[in-house]
């Protein structure tokens, strides 16, 4: 097969280099003056798009009762085996008969696939937009039921990072 070799013949002005050099300088100056893409992290936080899979939360009913019925569907669906649930009989008269006394998620094992929220028949477990949780020990990154319910409290009123960027101070339960 014949190959077409493209050759480039420099034009008259190209032989002087200077027009091309000036062109290059103009391009970089334009970039110099444009808005920067970097988000200055601790002061300004990147706002993830809706559907982002971050830290988990356990939803609550309007009266404050936990939605979870400890059916262990999420635990079964979890490919990373990071959820640990202990069910018990619910203390309240009205509503569901079961509730979890222990609901732990090992955040270091979790792969943030979102299977748990798909598996949940009660829409009780959900993944939120929170991404900047960190701790000094592995134990501190096992979030318990109390923490998961607190995540619900801080995430129910709209995107956490949107609000933080607007100057609202929100404390994350896992972060030290």
């Amino acid at each position: 097969m014949a190959t077409v070799v493209k050759t480039y013949e420099p034009k008259f002005w190209d032989r002087f280099y200077l027009p091309a050099i000036v062109q290059g300088l103009v391009i970089t100056l334009g970039r110099f003056l444009k808005r920067k893409d970097t988000v200055l992290y601790p002061e300004k936080k990147h706002v993830p798009p809706p559907g982002y899979r971050g830290l988990h939360r356990l939803n609550k009913h309007d009266d404050g009762r936990i939605k979870c019925v400890a059916c262990e569907m999420c635990q079964t669906a979890c490919p990373a085996h990071c959820i640990d649930i202990e069910p018990s009989i619910a203390p309240w008269e009205e509503g569901e008969e079961r509730y979890p006394v222990k609901f732990e998620i090992d955040l270091l094992r979790c792969i943030y696939c979102g299977f748990c929220e798909i598996a949940c028949p009660k829409d009780a477990i959900e993944l939120t937009e929170i991404y900047d949780f960190a701790a000094y020990t592995r134990d501190d990154l096992v979030i318990e039921m109390e923490g998961l319910l607190k995540v619900f409290d801080i995430t129910k009123d709209g995107n956490v990072y949107d609000r933080q960027n607007r100057g609202e101070s929100i404390e994350l339960p896992v972060t030290r």
């Binding site: 050099i21 290059g24 300088l25 391009i27 970089t28 100056l29 970039r31 110099f32 444009k34 920067k36 893409d37 970097t38 200055l40």
Partner: protein, 340 residues
Amino acid sequence: MDTFEILVALIKVVAVFVAVILAVMVMTLAERRVAGFIQYRHGPNRVGPWGFLQPVADGIKFLLKEDIIPANVNLPIYLLAPAITMIPALTTFAVIPFGAPLEVAGRTVQLQVANINIGLLYILALTSVGVYGLVLAGWSSGSKYPLLGGLRSSAQLISYELAMGLAIIGVVMVSGGLTFNEIIAHQQATSWNFWKQPIAALVFLVAMYAETNRLPFDLTEAEQELVGGYHTEYSSFKFAMFFLSEYANMVTASAFMVCLFFGGWDIPFVDETQMGAWGVVLSVLVFIAKIGFFLFLYIWVRWTFPRFRYDQLMRLGWKVLLPLGLVNIFLVGLWMALKV
């Protein structure tokens, strides 16, 4: 020499030294911040406001780092090389006038550390000595990459010093003197040399980049080919001395360019002699602004263009810049002959 003169000389020496070191510090920061800006980033902005304390942090880091001396070095020369590079880099600025003459207590004080009658030659001579530092550093390191870097820097210097000299000759011909004061006075009396000799200005600008080993002519420290070039085997503060002298050379080269082609401290369209002390202050500020532009150009060019190949570098030096310099001298000579 009475006390007044000694005091004035001391103040000028300290002021110029501090100014050059400060400029170097600002440049190391500006280099990285402008690089960031050109690449849609912010650059270092965490240490102090706008990152202004970053150079201080770097300096402390360089001082505290372990100073490694490789086993195969030629020790006396290895230790001498950074000093040979740094001393000329810091002393060349001495002959550059940085402002209009100042009247103090009935006497005229030249804003210049030393008014030597061969100012131009002094700078050319000392910058050439500075290259000995690079060659010796490369040779004494006992390693092949530094050696290649050192050899390249000497070859590059020979090729571009000629073109630079030819560009300067055109300026010396019209101003009739080798001191910066005469050159600036001549530009004030007529117009900036840049408007009269744009070819010489261009040749000088390109040669200036090659002389200071800056991109697109940084063949001596081409990272991809030579690891780090002549300073590969240097660490800690000895490396910092090479780093410092590179930037100090850039400051001096920019000042050289401004004095030769852009009127030095001359303020365009304004007669600074009518304004007294304020005129002097203004002239110093204008001089700093002009140097600042050329320093920015240095960084701007660095983050815009790729490095030349070695043969391209030589071709540009010998086949383009040298003939251009000669053409400029011819044109200036012709113009002078016709004018008389």
